[in-house]
């Protein structure tokens, strides 16, 4: 015997409301897990980036250090070469001045330019010419001047002029010693 004309629907625990709630909860859990995954991913990326930056920094530091060493070397090279070039130019002027110093009437046969002195060999018509025209200017330049003469042909005289400068460092040391005693 039939009591109803409709077929009874199956009863389920997942009613429309429950399904709605589960969907909402699933979305919430998904968002939470998604946020957590995002944080984990970002943390990993940050660590990776930091390591990369650190490596790049080391490369830059090393590179900069090498370039600074090169700059220092070039500056040293530049300074030394300028010193040498200046010394060469000064030497040229000194030699030029020395030969300009010798008057026409005196003929040099040999000149020895030393670190702190000058030795000249030559021939002069007489002592007066030598004394006035060469010895006097040499004496004004050098601290110690010695001359010796030997007779040559035709009444001329051969001379050897030895001229020395006092070592400036010795002088400074002497001065300092003197100051200390005072």
């Amino acid at each position: 015997m039939r009591y109803s004309y409709i077929i009874p629907r199956k009863k389920s625990i997942f009613t429309a409301e429950i399904r709605l709630v589960i969907t909402f909860f699933s979305m919430t859990i998904f968002m939470l897990v998604g946020t957590y995954s995002f944080l984990l991913y970002k943390d990993t990326m940050f660590i990776k980036d930091k390591r990369l930056i650190e490596n790049q920094k080391i490369v830059f530091q090393k590179n900069t250090k090498e370039m600074e060493a090169q700059i220092l070397l070039i500056e040293k090279q530049n300074s030394l070469s300028q010193k040498i070039f200046t010394k060469n130019s000064v030497l040229k002027d000194s030699i030029k001045n020395l030969f300009d110093l010798v008057p026409q009437r005196i003929t040099l046969s040999e000149a020895k330019l030393l670190e702190n002195g000058l030795i000249l060999y030559g021939i002069t018509p007489n002592k007066d010419v030598y004394n006035f025209m060469l010895h006097a200017p040499l004496r004004s330049i050098f601290h110690k001047t010695y001359s010796s003469f030997y007779p040559a042909k035709g009444g001329w005289l051969r001379f050897v002029s030895t001229n020395y400068m006092d070592d400036e460092t010795d002088e400074i040391l002497d001065e300092n010693k003197g100051e200390k005693h005072d």
Binding site: L39, K50, T64, S81, I95, L113
Partner: protein
């Protein structure tokens, strides 16, 4: 009195579970990792700023180095060149009547540079030649300093001259040098 149906109980239980889950998950994982994320982000931005600073410094140093290198090209190349007696004679023979180098001797290093002493003897027609040589030597392929003692001796129409030179280089040994090793460490 209203009775609570089964469905409402399910929803209540689910909600309670969700609440507990959300609380535990947030306190245990999300909040600590969020803090860490902020710290890492600030550290990274600091590291990036530091890297930028180093990069700028590196760029500035590079620009300075390039300027110095281009301004002092001749000097740098001269210091890098090892002294070659044959090439020296070939270059400067045109100034002198005769030119010979007698010995190359290694001296003590000066300011970190290797120094070699070369004794030179030559014949010149007038002192002007020697002045020209001193001008030319400053433009030579090597860093050369002419040193005392310098001797000039008249031999008829020519002047025999002898002088010593100091050749400076970065650490390479002049060629034709039998007394010293072939390569000197920097």
């Amino acid at each position: 009195m209203t009775s609570i149906n089964r469905q409402s109980i399910y929803i209540l239980i689910l909600s309670t579970f969700l609440l507990i889950f959300v609380l535990i998950f947030s306190l245990k994982f999300l909040i600590p990792h969020g803090k860490e994320y902020r710290e890492q982000r600030s550290q990274l931005s600091f590291a990036r700023a530091d890297l930028r600073r180093w990069k700028n410094f590196d760029d500035e140093t590079y620009a300075t180095l390039k300027t110095l290198q281009s301004d002092n090209r001749h000097i740098i190349e001269a210091f890098e060149s090892s002294f070659n007696e044959q090439r020296f004679i070939k270059t400067y023979k045109k100034l002198f009547n005769t030119l010979s180098l007698s010995k190359t001797k290694r001296l003590d290093s000066q300011d970190g540079f290797e120094v070699y002493q070369v004794t030179t003897s030559s014949q010149i027609s007038s002192p002007e030649v020697f002045y020209n040589f001193l001008d030319e030597v400053n433009k030579s392929d090597w860093i050369i300093g002419v040193n005392f003692p310098i001797n000039f001796k008249r031999n008829g129409e020519v002047i025999s001259s002898s002088f010593s030179m100091k050749v400076y280089c970065n650490g390479t040994v002049p060629s034709n040098d039998s007394n010293t090793s072939k390569e000197v460490k920097k």
